[in-house]
């Protein structure tokens, strides 16, 4: 198979020494570290795409103490498994990224929020933390304690404020933002929440330098990025790419020769139909989620849509009405249209409903309704109706 999508090899590169990269970064001091990160253009890999350097800077400027560093390893977006791969293969980079963040913002405590589905790797990760603390933090004289907090099967807890509520022993319901966690996070103290891949990418930045890092990728998304490829593909897996790839190339390399649609960004992303493969570029414009799912012609797009809606209806925290009731109505709505109980025009009302959800829902879970719904209903209307 010809390699059409250019891959790079930084995050899973085991040649690099966490100790050396940490040494190099620490020598810059907190201000220098923030500057380098800002210059690199690194954006968070958890979905929202906030500039990592700015996030650390804001947390650093807070006077309140203690401060906290949280690594978001809740990885609940269906089709995403890159964080699992990072924690299994290069955990040291994540721990080092967290420690560096702690040093920069003045936090002595770091917590990894690991999704319940990954309980099986907890023991190994704990061993890695012991080893890292003893062999790297100790000799460097860094006072930073890392612990693991287990999730318990709730997708919404990946949302940073819901995650914080969850650690505090509450239902994982997102808070209102602002205030943001950098000011008012865990136990109402300044907190940096970053994704697993973000911490690992911080190590890439300090290893190669901000200038070189910035030249990777597109103007909207700098650097390299991991994608999780799944669905109907003979080559599922995690790949590190420079953003800016053409979807057509991607499909030629990863499709099974019968690809009908691609879901970019996982369930909260959007669906690209065959007719648009040639023009779509991944990594321009809005930040791209980490999951890419391919569907072949054997798939019913009605079943795909139904599966996605069911997921959100189940995972809605129920705190706000547009999301709680909205997803249930969308689900019932497409079922009714399918059964012929409602006319095809009813789909237009449902499309309007998703727009309302986007405007009125409190967090991304409710707000992402129009992305996938619109792109599936508009491109596969016949499959939804008949």
């Amino acid at each position: 198979m010809a390699e059409l999508v250019k891959k790079v090899h930084y995050i899973f590169d085991k040649e690099c020494s966490c100790r050396e990269v940490l040494d190099k970064a620490l020598a810059l001091g907190p201000d220098g570290i923030v500057q380098e990160l800002v210059d690199s253009g690194l954006r968070g890999r958890g979905g929202a795409g906030f500039l990592t350097g700015i996030k650390w800077k804001l947390a650093k400027e807070q006077q309140e103490t203690p401060k906290y560093v949280i690594c978001n390893a809740d990885e609940g977006e269906p089709g995403t498994f890159k964080d699992r791969k990072i924690l299994e293969e290069v955990p040291c980079k994540v721990l080092a990224g967290m420690a560096l963040c702690g040093y920069t913002i003045g936090a002595k405590e770091g917590i990894i929020y690991l999704r319940g589905e990954y309980s099986y790797m907890r023991h190994e990760l704990q061993q890695q933390i012991f080893q890292f603390t003893k062999e790297i933090l100790g000799p460097l004289g860094l006072d930073f304690k890392i612990s693991i907090f287990m999730g318990a099967g709730a997708y919404v807890c990946g949302e940073e404020t819901a995650l914080i509520e969850s650690i505090e022993g509450e239902r994982g319901e997102p808070r209102n933002k602002p205030p943001f966690p950098v000011q008012n996070g865990l136990f109402r103290k300044p907190t940096v929440v970053n994704n697993v891949e973000t911490f690992a990418s911080v190590m890439t930045v300090f290893r190669m330098g901000a200038k070189k890092y910035k030249n990777l990728g597109t103007k909207d998304q700098r650097g390299s990025k991991l994608i999780s490829v799944s669905g109907d593909t003979p080559r599922p897996g995690v790949y590190e790419i420079e953003l800016g790839m053409k979807l057509a190339d991607f499909v030629r390399e990863f499709g099974d020769g019968d690809t009908k649609a691609v879901l970019v960004g996982g369930y909260s992303g959007f669906c690209v139909p065959e007719t648009h493969f040639e023009t779509a570029v991944i990594g321009e414009g809005r930040p791209t989620g980490a999951a890419i799912l391919l569907f072949n012609h054997k798939r019913s797009m009605y079943r795909v849509l139904h599966n996605i809606l069911e997921f959100f209806a189940e995972e809605s925290c129920g705190q706000c009405t547009p999301c709680r009731v909205g997803y249930q109505q969308l689900l019932k709505g497409i079922e009714a249209v399918k059964k012929g109980e409602k006319s095809e025009e009813y789909l237009n009302s449902l499309l309007n409903l998703t727009e309302t959800m986007k405007i009125t829902a409190k967090c991304g879970l409710g707000q992402s309704a129009p992305n996938f719904f619109k792109s599936i209903v508009e491109n596969y209307r016949e499959e939804i109706v008949y």
Binding site: R171, P236, L293
Partner: protein
């Protein structure tokens, strides 16, 4: 029994509100699910109302408040697995003689569905308690069930 366990866990994790989830998680690990007594006990120890604790527990799908078997099988139903899990679902229902949502009469197994467990590169996938099983086939399912049937509790 529940009382002693809760007491032991409170000693281990502390009485802070942030100890609530770790305590509930360990009860589920040891007793399969949260009985009403367990919830009441935890509430007493942490000085919370039972409703409060129940409210937290029901929020999380892995904090079972329904009676469950010793081994909770959770089959992934998200899109990559959805296209591949029919045969293993059929096999499990046949072997255990229960439907999804059910628990065997000997209280050994519960059969549940769950959302993506992050193993899509090796679909179909499932969890048995905290263990992950990937690339499963009906044949593998038979081996797995056989293993847990004979595993000493």
């Amino acid at each position: 029994m529940t009382e002693t366990l809760v007491h032991e866990l409170v000693e281990k994790y502390g009485r802070k509100r942030s100890s609530l989830l770790p305590i509930l998680q360990e009860i589920v690990r040891r007793e399969s699910y949260l009985t009403p007594q367990a919830i009441i006990e935890v509430a007493k120890e942490l000085d919370l109302s039972a409703t409060e604790v129940y409210g937290v527990a029901t929020f999380y799908s892995f904090l079972d408040v329904q009676p469950r078997g010793e081994y909770k099988i959770r089959i992934c139903k998200s899109l990559t697995c959805d296209a591949k899990n029919k045969a293993i679902l059929d096999e499990l229902e046949k072997l255990l003689k229960i439907k999804v949502g059910g628990t065997t009469l000997d209280r050994r197994f519960s059969l549940l569905m769950t959302n993506c467990i992050g193993q899509c590169d090796h679909a179909p996938a499932m969890l048995v308690n905290e263990e992950v099983y990937t690339d499963i086939t009906p044949e593998k399912v038979r081996e797995i069930i056989n293993y847990y049937k004979h595993k000493k509790i």
